[in-house]
């Protein structure tokens, strides 16, 4: 029987998990590095091969123009939507992009679903290695507040990765499933899910019935462009401003920007435990940006970001008709809930200590695996009732939106609308479908437009009933019937932002060139790519050492690095990926003192001539 896996396709990391029937709990499947966290980074090599995960993450430093991270931010969006994002993220959007964004990576152009498909393909290969068997069915999680276009883009990504997507599950709901299974609790639960790029809040009721346990979502809210990325960006703005004060503009150094980002993320992680940390960052002009930052200063900087999560929290509670004190459990999900200020803010609001026993990185993937098991029929005493996060409406006279399915309706949900002609011999009725809470069409998210064709006749004679149905994945289906003729009425729905079926088909054909490579061949490509990037970094460091501090590197150390370089280069000519990996590790170890030496020297230069008190 085919296995159905659960996938958390995250902004920063993606994971794949599976519920083994013989075991009580689901578990995450580790990749080649032993960790189940796959960085959601994709890089395209000069020879056209695709690199995903840890190896791609390293290429952010060496080949930033061929590498992309946080692509989830672009899913289901048009070029006009992401102008703000472009100021901060190094996305290279193809100027020819129309309703679907196209991103340039090296010589090629990809849509966000295609890039996400590479990540899914990588995870799929992890699972296939683990099972030593093929995997073709999946449940994929999405932010609860994702709109129809963002959900469709995610489903397209699954298809392009060769996966049958049985269901899209909302991330906080998946977390609640994993949590409920773990804690055996009942009652009203709030799931606060603050991830790398998205924020969701869901209010659920966990009920025991004679048939089994029901997880009923009462309301959901969020912001699909609010996450840990924003904290990184706040730190980055601060640092770049200060670096500009030192006379260096990093705009001219894209690879340095990525290294700075890496250093700042490390500082952010340290500030989750420590009261202060120091950022020591060598600049392209040989100086060092040295900056101490205290927890208090950090919290002042990020408080506006954390506060932005509370509006959706209040709205979700109001929609569920509950007060904060009526929530019996608060569950924290997502890497950004490691930030102490986030925990404090949530605890203060609900007046109770939130749960964080489950690993916030893994819990969503684990819940997706549980849902996969439910769909396979493995678990038959759990039922998930989720809601649609946004109201569905159609445009009426004067650009006003008539809501036909209100937000927080349990899905599947449907609405029927009757349409007729307004003037004699009118041959078509235009319908514009939107999602959102605002009154006017221009302020809502356009989902699709279509035209109902009618035979010419007197005004008001045609009677076409259109059925709007939001399925259990939160995706809209539209069908129409001609009530007078008693027949199905065919319609062609053109998505406003997204790929139509023909485009997905074409991409599927194109993607065959990336399709299933032999397992060891794939391993070899990955090992080679990683080796190349370590070699580039090492050679760059050696050259810099030679020019900046000639004669200082002990002969012994230099020789061990050079020997490792030679050995690794030799192994690249062969096809033994294990040997390439092992020698990459040797080089990594041999070059560690070199990297430390450089950092120390850069730091010493920066501090030269300063008294201790000024540091």
């Amino acid at each position: 029987m085919p296995r159905t896996v659960g996938i958390d396709l995250g902004t920063t990391y993606s994971l794949i998990a599976y519920q083994d029937k013989r075991e009580a709990r689901p578990k995450c499947i580790p990749g080649p590095y032993g960790t189940p966290l796959c960085p959601s980074v994709v890089s395209v090599d000069a020879d056209g091969s695709i690199i995903v995960g840890q190896a791609a993450q390293r290429r952010l430093l060496t080949q930033p123009e061929r590498t992309i991270y946080s692509v989830k931010r672009l899913m289901g969006r048009g070029p006009a939507d992401v102008q703000d994002e472009l100021k901060i993220f190094p996305f290279r959007i193809d100027p020819a992009s129309k309703n679907v964004i196209r991103v340039r990576l090296g010589e090629r152009v990809f849509t966000p679903p295609e890039i996400s498909a590479f990540i899914l393909r990588e995870l799929k290969s992890w699972a296939e290695n683990y099972f030593q068997d093929s995997v073709s069915r999946a449940v994929i999680t999405v932010p609860a507040y994702f709109n129809d276009a963002q959900r469709q883009a995610t489903r397209d990504a699954g298809r392009l990765a060769g996966l049958e997507v049985l269901r899209l599950v909302n991330e906080p709901t998946a977390a609640a499933l994993a949590y409920g299974l773990h804690e055996q609790k009942r009652g009203k639960v709030a799931v606060y899910d603050f991830g790398g790029g998205t924020f969701d809040i869901s209010i659920l009721k966990l009920i025991s019935t004679s048939d089994g346990d029901i997880y009923q979502v009462l309301s959901t809210n969020g912001d699909t462009h609010l996450g840990g990325d924003d904290i990184d960006n706040a730190l980055q703005s601060l640092a770049r401003e200060e670096i500009r004060g030192l006379g260096v503009d990093l705009a001219a150094h894209p690879d340095t920007v990525q290294e700075l980002r890496k250093a700042l993320i490390a500082a952010k992680h340290e500030l989750s435990d420590a009261d202060k940390t120091a950022i020591k960052f060598p600049l392209p002009d040989g100086n060092v940006y040295f900056r101490e930052i205290s927890r208090a200063e950090y919290e002042r900087l990020i408080r506006p970001i954390v506060d932005r999560t509370m509006g959706p929290v209040r709205q979700a509670l109001a929609d569920a008709k509950l007060k904060p004190a009526e929530i019996e459990e608060v569950v924290l999900v997502g890497g950004s809930t490691r930030v102490p200020l986030v925990r404090q803010t949530v605890e203060q609001f609900f007046g109770r200590k939130p749960h964080a026993e489950l690993n916030p990185d893994e819990v969503v993937a684990l819940g997706a695996a549980v849902q996969a098991d439910i769909l396979e029929g493995g678990v038959n005493d759990m039922l998930l009732l989720d809601v649609t996060p946004l109201s569905l409406g159609i445009e009426t006279m004067g650009g006003v939106v008539a809501k036909i399915i209100p937000r927080n309706s349990t899905v599947p949900a449907s609405a029927q609308e009757l349409f007729t002609t307004g003037v004699e011999n009118q041959t078509g009725i235009d319908i514009h479908v939107l999602q959102g809470e605002r009154e006017l069409a221009k302020d809502c998210r356009s989902l699709a437009r279509f035209q109902l064709k009618v035979p010419p006749g007197p005004a008001g004679l045609a009677r076409i009933e259109v059925k709007f149905l939001i399925d259990a994945s939160g995706i809209l289906q539209v069908s129409a019937s001609d009530l007078r003729a008693g027949t199905e009425h065919s319609i062609e729905v053109q998505p406003t932002y997204g790929l139509d079926d023909a485009e997905v088909e074409r991409m599927l054909e194109e993607s065959i060139e990336f399709a299933e490579q032999d397992f060891s061949e794939r391993q070899l490509i990955e090992a080679r790519n990683e080796a190349e990037s370590v070699l580039t970094l090492t050679e760059r460091a050696l050259a810099r050492e030679k020019s900046e501090a000639p004669g200082e590197l002990p002969e012994e150390e230099r020789r061990s690095v050079e020997d490792a370089v030679v050995a690794l280069r030799e192994s690249l000519a062969g096809t033994d990926y294990k040997r390439v990996r092992a020698l990459t590790d040797v080089l990594n170890q041999a070059s560690t003192p070199l990297a430390e030496r450089m950092m120390n020297r850069a730091l010493a230069t920066a501090l030269e001539g300063k008294k201790l008190g000024e540091v």
Binding site: T209, D211, L383, L385, L469
Partner: protein
């Protein structure tokens, strides 16, 4: 009394095995899922009489029990036709639950079943007992907008705000009164069903409910309008 036009067709046969289904959602003979019987409405779907006072706990229990049976999660391995039926039925179940658990939507739905829900022709016209208050409100709103455009003093704005807030409270309490009234007519309707009153009496009650609904919608728009105005002031 013949409450609306619910005659559930019981003569249907199973799509799978052709055995008579007696209007059941699952064939008594082969157990396969069936379409909703012709003429079924939200009340009958949830096994409830067409009454307006209902026990929300019972409603929720019925909703949950039917969700178990109909949800698409349990039809992943079924045929395409069964999958579609599960999708249709569970969406209708969710729509039914959403409508019936809300006391106002419940009345609107009951009226729509017999074509008795008629939105007010003169939507803009205030109910006579509120005429004076609506007149005052419109005056304050004009003053407020004018003051806002010409940059009124903080004291002036404060005063106008207070005026609007008191109007808001007034209309909110009118809204609560109307809701009470609606619940009252609902009880009359339930009593008429219990005593099998004649059709004319039922029709009269529906007309009354329709009138209360129109008045309610007018007041609710007022409340929303004032709320919005206060939010931007």
């Amino acid at each position: 009394m013949n409450a609306a036009s619910t005659t559930v067709t019981l003569s249907a046969t199973c799509r799978n095995c052709s055995a008579p289904t007696n209007g059941a959602l699952f064939c008594p003979s082969c157990g396969k899922i069936q379409p909703l019987p012709r003429g079924a409405d939200y009340f009958s779907f949830l096994g409830l009489p067409q009454k307006l006072t209902l026990d929300l706990d019972t409603l929720e229990q019925r909703f949950h029990s039917l969700s178990w049976k109909l949800h698409p999660d349990h039809f992943v391995r079924a045929t395409e036709e069964e999958k579609q039926l599960s999708l249709d039925l569970s969406s209708q179940l969710n729509d039914a639950y959403r409508t019936l658990r809300d006391p106002v939507a419940r009345v609107e739905y009951l009226l729509s079943l017999s074509g008795m829900r008629k939105e007010g022709q003169k939507k803009q016209q205030a109910p006579p007992e509120l005429l004076e208050e609506v007149f005052e409100l419109n005056e304050s709103l004009d003053e407020l907008r004018e003051a806002r455009d010409s940059g009124g003093s903080p004291e002036q704005m404060q005063g106008l705000r207070a005026k609007l807030e008191s109007a808001q409270h007034k209309f909110e309490s009118s809204l609560a009164d109307v809701d009470q009234e609606l619940a009252g007519v609902g009880k009359d309707w339930d009593a008429a069903i219990d005593s099998a009153a004649d059709e004319a009496a039922g029709k009269k009650l529906m007309e009354r409910m329709n009138e209360v609904l129109n008045r309610r919608s007018y007041i609710r728009n007022l409340v929303n309008g004032v709320r919005q105005e206060l939010a931007v002031t």
